[in-house]
């Protein structure tokens, strides 16, 4: 109630003005997520309950949690902004940049994660490559997860200040402590429970924008015509036809960068090895549910552009004012790209609906932060605390450590948020740091699962040198602007292309080093690889399962829809 009154009184915002109904909707949301935390606490007794939600989730709940943990308010607003800036090319991050990887996770990799009964991705690396690889992966993941969470927290609070006039400190503390409370109370069970709720709210809060927007433009063809008129080009509404050269599209990228850099290395690295998302699938009640969860997630992921990319394109077609970069917006007191989604919310939504739209943004942020915090808590407890300090403590001890890690993780995120507030450039460094580990880790896990000849020494050195190669290329790019044209293989490449090609090169370094060193070592006996590697693992047959319940059937359905979408928007 107090929060609701504050939200109304603080409503001196520049962009959106809330009524008491909007404030009540936001306040009820906070009460609901905390209530769920208290309700679920009663069911959270053991380590399995706290860290793996009892491993009893259905495919639907695990699949929606898997997808919601990836969403955040920044994801929603950031990609809406990218679609305003680059057009429909931003949809690549939702389609080729996600769908094949999610299907691959479900069909190929999940059996090894699930059958090995690992508690985390670093835990799998311990079983496959030994303690040193696990420790390297666990420490980098834990630190980066908390730092990223802090950056997101600061950005969310800043957005709320700009849009609604909310005090930045209050936004940081209220939203992060709410996440800390419900996760510390009910662990992953509570986080997933809330993520499903948040996923529904995100859709219901934002879906009206594309509906109303397409009605105003007269459908998709009307939208394309308006964008072509406003921008003097049809490049903004084509997914592939402009990618034949770096200069031919608004993003300054070539199709090889999208296919091999984004579609292969970055996407597969994130969706198949980032524990933040993989942890949700490990909660499934059986292997078939674990395989179906990412496939269900992929089906919904394909639809997310409706509430993220379409609003950006509608902004491009309909907004009377021209949006600009952050620095230019501050200098001219105009609106930045990042404000396109809230501007569209304000354009179409009246009292009540506006509160639901803002709740959707807050829900997105909380789902993302809870994802970070639960993954951090699990990796720290099992892969650092238990592995390095207390290997034989009781289950209750690890649950206690997990709860404390949740609170400490949130406090560390808050600390990072304040650090970013003081030194804004830290944000770029943290985001770059996170990108260093994704591509090499994918190389290590992929070879670990599919190539039984890979050895512990090969895995460790491949991961380490791949990561160092990525860091080296990034430093090179900062010191010498000409490096971009060499890394991306073209003098016309733009900044976005650098990430794609840097990921590709670092993955190749990781894979090459792993193969070379492994071939110089004695192979690991196959007996030790059972349950971990393709060819040494008995995977249960799906022959007796009805067609409509088979993961491979739904993967084919999703694949057909994926191909059709790419052809339709070619």
């Amino acid at each position: 109630m107090i929060l609701g009154l504050y939200l109304m009184q603080a409503d001196l915002g520049r962009l959106i003005h809330l009524t008491w109904v909007d404030a009540a909707i936001i306040a009820i949301y906070f009460i609901a997520v905390l209530g769920i935390g208290f309700y679920v606490k009663e069911q959270t007794q053991t380590g399995d309950d706290f860290f793996f939600a009892g491993r009893e989730m259905t495919a639907w709940v695990a699949g929606l949690g898997f997808l919601a943990a990836n969403l955040s308010s920044l994801e929603l607003m950031g990609w809406a902004a990218a679609s305003y800036q680059y057009g429909i090319l931003a949809a690549h991050w939702y389609w080729i940049g996600a769908i094949p990887a999610m299907l691959f996770l479900g069909l190929v990799m999940m059996p090894f994660y699930y059958i090995s009964k690992t508690h985390s991705v670093p835990g799998y690396l311990k079983l496959r490559f030994g303690e040193s690889t696990r420790t390297l992966s666990a420490i980098t993941f834990a630190v980066m997860t908390v730092l990223m969470s802090g950056v997101n927290l600061y950005s969310m609070a800043l957005v709320m200040k700009i849009l609604l006039g909310w005090d930045i400190h209050l936004s940081i503390w209220v939203s992060s402590l709410t996440v800390a409370a419900y996760v510390a109370l009910g662990g992953l069970r509570s986080a997933i429970f809330n993520e499903v709720l948040q996923f529904i709210l995100i859709w219901l809060g934002v879906l009206l924008i594309p509906i109303m927007g397409l009605r105003e433009t007269g459908g998709w063809s009307g939208l394309k015509e308006r964008i072509a008129t406003n921008m003097g080009s049809t490049d903004y509404t084509h997914l592939w036809s402009t990618l034949g050269s770096f200069q031919g599209n608004p993003m300054g990228i070539h199709w090889t960068g999208i296919v091999f850099g984004l579609g292969w290395v970055i996407s597969f690295g994130y969706w198949t090895t980032d524990f933040l998302v993989v942890q949700r699938v490990l909660t499934a009640k059986d292997l078939r549910s674990a395989q179906l969860a990412p496939i269900i997630g992929a089906g919904f992921k394909m639809l997310v552009p409706v509430i993220v990319i379409l609003p950006g394109l509608l902004g491009l077609a309909l907004l009377p004012q021209k949006l600009m970069g952050e620095a230019a917006a501050v200098a001219s007191n105009g609106h930045s790209y990042n404000e396109v989604l809230p501007l569209m919310l304000a354009r179409y939504l009246g009292p009540g609906l506006l509160g639901l739209g803002i709740t959707a943004l807050i829900a997105g942020f909380m789902a993302g932060m809870a994802g970070n915090v639960t993954a951090f808590s699990t990796v720290w407890t099992y892969d650092i605390h238990r592995a390095l300090f207390r290997p034989n403590a009781s289950d209750a001890h690890y649950v206690r450590v997990g709860r404390w890690c949740t609170i400490l993780g949130v406090l560390a995120s808050i600390g990072t948020a304040y650090l970013v507030m003081q030194f804004l450039s830290i944000m770029d460094y943290v985001q770059a740091l996170f990108s260093f580990f994704v591509a090499p880790l994918f190389g290590t896990v992929l070879l670990g699962m599919l190539w039984k000849r890979a050895t512990p020494a090969g895995g460790f050195w491949g991961l380490l040198l791949g990561t160092l190669a990525s860091i080296g290329m990034w430093i090179w790019g900062r010191l010498d602007p000409g490096a971009l044209s060499i890394i991306a293989l073209s003098p016309h490449a733009a900044g976005m292309a650098e990430n794609m090609y840097r990921a590709l090169w670092s993955w190749l370094v990781c894979v090459s080093v792993t193969i070379a060193i492994s071939l110089c070592n004695a192979p690991v006996p196959e007996k030790q690889l059972e349950g971990l590697v393709y060819g040494c693992t008995a995977i249960p047959s799906a022959a007796a399962v009805p067609l409509l319940q088979r993961p491979v059937f739904w993967a084919i359905v999703v694949s057909i829809a994926f191909v059709l979408l790419n052809v339709v928007f070619w």
Binding site: T19, V21, A24, I25, I28, Y29, A32, I36, Y39, E42, Q43, A53, G54, E56, M57, T58, W60, V61, R189, I192, F193, V196, L197, I200, L201, L204, L208, M212, E216, R347, Y348, L349, G350, P351, G352, L353, L356
Partner: protein, 75 residues
């Protein structure tokens, strides 16, 4: 067993959507009566969306109500 008393997540979602639907429908009716919105905001949309949320909320609350299926867990 406590596990047998767990409520499905959809039951909670149902109640939340029901409450939201009532609030949004009420606010939408007020807007329609006062005609107090900008030219880009359709004054009927709050009523339609509120009614939709109420319908979804009621469906979830009914289909996933306690005791309907014993051990649903977090489904």
């Amino acid at each position: 067993m406590a596990a047998e008393n767990k409520l499905p997540v959809w039951y909670f979602i149902g109640w939340l959507l029901l409450i939201y639907g009532i609030l949004i429908l009420g606010a939408g009716s007020g807007v329609l009566a006062a005609q107090a919105v900008s030219e880009t905001v359709d004054s009927r949309i709050g009523i339609w969306w509120g009614a939709l949320l109420i319908a979804i909320g009621l469906t979830y609350v009914y289909c996933f109500r306690p005791g309907r299926s014993g051990d649903k867990g977090l489904r």
